[in-house]
């Protein structure tokens, strides 16, 4: 016992000595060598993408990856960017802050020059400072919580319409169908709560009267409480901002409970699974707010074909956004003529009416989409898939 501290001090001295030796040796990649984080100037240009490949959201990861990969392949096919090939580096963020930060650091270490990923707002937020510090511009395809741009980091761009814009589309539609009273339900995830809040806000501004704003716990089965509430309050339109699983259940249970208003869902719920879960005869008055998907745009069949060939599966949510994210970033680098942070950011800001699935793209001052390009989709009773119903252009 009594001699313990002596040994420890000796050890520490040894440690210090060893440290110094190695420090002076200055190994590459180590502190001595001052390992640099910025990407190299030869070889392919690396785009990094953080997306969920494990955890509850893992389905969306593949949609995003394949979309981006398709864009990369196409760009490489006609000469790449700045005469260099593009390479897509994908990391898992599991929708969890810890994993996301590790992944982001891994991308930085791998020397990516641009980030085209980000699905869960909660997992994307902590990665912003990392990419910012490393001087890596981000074009975020899916995550679109307003908090992402609130920090006003120079390199952060959103090409998925923000909650505000989607909520605006929802409100516009409500007015269009002449709804008087509306309600909002979210599933307590960052994006969903955000969207519901801004829907309620804008609806109130638009003079609609908001019956109630409810929050449910995702991952359960029984939502009879909120269903009953809907049946009792009978709003003309209810806006569900969460994902399709709970969405389908709520739509079904609400109808069983006797609710017969319009069931408007956010983009998280726009998926063929919605109809399956809700079941036959529960989807007549289900509509959704969504950015256009290729099957809604004439002449996009070729794109779908290409995607399906690449991925072996049909495109899903955020495939197009990821595809566009890569193209936007590539274009900006092309314009900037280099992968230098400031130049690329300037390039992104300078983009004018760049053609994307969501229509011509121009970034606003706060680096979000000017339009948002949200449309109203409805469920096709035959296939259960969502199809374009109203592009809200008039």
């Amino acid at each position: 016992m009594s001699h313990a501290p002596r040994r420890r001090t000796r050890l520490l001295q040894f440690a210090a000595a060893a440290t110094l030796v190695i420090a002076t040796a200055g190994c590459s990649g180590g502190l001595g060598g001052g390992g640099s984080d910025s990407g190299s100037d030869e070889g392919p240009i690396k785009f990094g993408m953080l997306a969920p490949f494990s955890g509850s959201e893992s389905a969306f990861g593949d949609y995003m990856k394949n979309g981006a990969q398709l864009a990369v392949n196409e760009l490489n096919a006609d000469g790449g960017v700045l005469g260099r090939d593009l390479e897509l580096v994908v990391e898992d963020d599991a929708c969890d802050a810890t994993t996301a930060v590790a992944g982001a650091n891994k991308l930085v270490t791998d020397g990516v020059v641009a980030s085209v990923g980000g699905y869960c707002s909660g997992a994307t937020l902590p990665t912003l400072p990392i990419f910012d510090e490393a001087g890596i511009p981000m074009v975020i395809p899916a995550a679109n919580s307003n908090e992402l741009v609130e920090q006003q980091l120079p390199g952060v761009f959103l090409i998925n319409g923000t909650g505000t814009q989607q909520a605006l589309a929802a409100v516009t539609y409500s007015e269009k169908i002449g709804a008087k009273t509306v309600a909002a339900i979210d599933d307590a995830t960052a994006y969903s709560a955000d969207l519901a809040a801004s829907f309620v806000e804008q609806a109130t501004d638009a003079g609609l009267d908001v019956a109630f704003e409810a929050t449910i716990t995702p991952g359960e089965n029984d939502y009879s409480a909120v269903a009953t509430q809907l049946a009792n309050e009978q709003p003309d339109l209810v806006y569900w901002t969460g994902y399709y699983q709970e969405g389908g259940l709520i739509a079904r249970q609400a109808k069983d409970a006797g609710f017969d208003g319009v069931f408007l869902v956010g983009d998280g719920s726009v998926d063929a699974k919605f109809a399956e879960i809700a079941g036959k005869g529960y989807t007549e008055n289900v509509v959704g707010t969504f950015t256009q998907t290729p099957d809604m745009i004439d002449g996009a069949d070729q794109w779908i074909a290409d995607y399906t060939e690449l991925a072996g599966a049909a495109p899903g949510p955020y495939s197009t956004q990821s595809y566009d994210a890569v193209r936007v970033m590539a274009q900006a680098i092309e314009d900037a003529g280099s992968t230098d942070f400031d130049k690329v950011v300037a390039g992104l800001e300078g983009l004018k009416d760049f053609d994307t699935f969501a229509g011509p793209l121009t970034f606003t001052d706060d680096h979000t989409l000017s339009g948002g390009g949200f449309v109203i989709v409805a469920i096709d009773p035959a296939t259960g898939a969502f199809v374009l119903k109203d592009d809200l252009q008039d």
């Binding site: 955890g55 009879s224 079904r252």
Partner: protein
């Protein structure tokens, strides 16, 4: 009124799962964490067989019953297997070890299913047509009625087994005093296996019913309901079957009202807080045997 009815529906699910919990706990004092996942497993067995036959959007009740029996047998056997592999070797080791094993089993089941069927929720192929009608202020749907009836039948069957048959007597004997029962020539292992079979079968049935009623199943559906079922079992007095049923219904009602008053997001907080208070002041539950006063 509506709240009460909703509560009863959820409660009957809790009760079915809680029964298994309570039986297993009563007989080998093991908190079987994996029980909720057996429930999930039941749903997936049903899903698998149905989609294997390419059935989808079916609405026939007989088919539902067939499938239910099938997955009851399957989950029952799985339950027995789990007991044999994971729990029996540890019967004489400290509780902590067995508990941790149970958690391990639970993880294995959940993520095993996840690997087999993928992380996304699946739509259950059988749906009960649910034309709603109003009775004294409550909106009741046919599917809900079917559900309650099946649950009630299952519970009655169980009650009969435990009360009337020799197996049941053996169970109660072991629950009271394992060594004593063994001395009396009861084949403890066989009885415990039976208990696991029955408990798991009930959970499996509940799983199928949930699938048919709600329509969507996923690999984590068992976790929360497992916790709730345990809460129900404790409230009713763990180890006591009628307690489990009572507790299940009670918890269902509590949640139904709780989420109506505090809002859905606080529902779990509400029921867990209730559990904690309950355990603090009446650890033996409503119908539980009163333990001797000691330190």
């Amino acid at each position: 009124m509506q709240l009460i009815w909703n509560g009863l529906i959820v409660g009957s699910f809790y009760a079915l799962v809680a029964l298994g919990y309570s039986m297993v706990y009563g007989i080998i004092k093991l908190l079987n964490f994996a029980h909720g996942d057996i429930y999930m497993l039941g749903a997936f067995v049903g899903f698998f067989t149905l989609s294997a036959f390419g059935i989808s959007n079916e609405t026939s009740i007989p088919l539902l019953l067939v499938i239910m029996l099938l997955s009851m047998v399957t989950t029952g056997l799985i339950g027995v297997g789990i007991e044999r592999i994971a729990y029996r070797p540890l019967r004489n080791s400290p509780r902590l070890a067995v508990l941790i094993t149970a958690i391990g089993v639970s993880f294995t089941l959940e993520y095993g299913v996840r690997q087999l069927f993928g992380p996304n929720p699946e739509a259950f192929p059988i749906r009960l047509e649910s034309s709603g009608f109003d009775v004294l202020g409550m909106r009741i749907t046919a599917s809900q009625l079917v559900l309650v009836v099946i649950a009630a039948v299952l519970m009655l069957v169980l009650a009969h087994i435990v009360e009337r048959t020799s197996q049941g007597r053996a169970m109660r004997a072991i629950a009271l005093d394992p060594q004593g029962a063994q001395l009396m020539g009861v084949n403890v292992n066989r009885v415990i296996a039976t208990v696991f079979f029955i408990g798991s079968a009930l959970a499996g049935a509940a799983g199928v019913m949930a699938g048919a009623y709600y329509g969507s199943i996923d690999f984590l559906m068992g976790f929360i309901i497992g916790l709730k079922a345990f809460t129900a079992a404790v409230i009713g007095g763990i180890g006591n079957l009628y307690g489990a049923m009572l507790g299940g219904l009670l918890l269902g009602l509590l949640e139904s009202f709780g989420s109506a008053w505090f809002g859905g997001e606080w529902r779990d907080v509400f029921s867990f807080a209730f559990l904690i208070l309950f355990l603090t002041f009446k650890p033996t539950g409503l119908l539980g045997a009163r333990v001797v006063e000691r330190m």
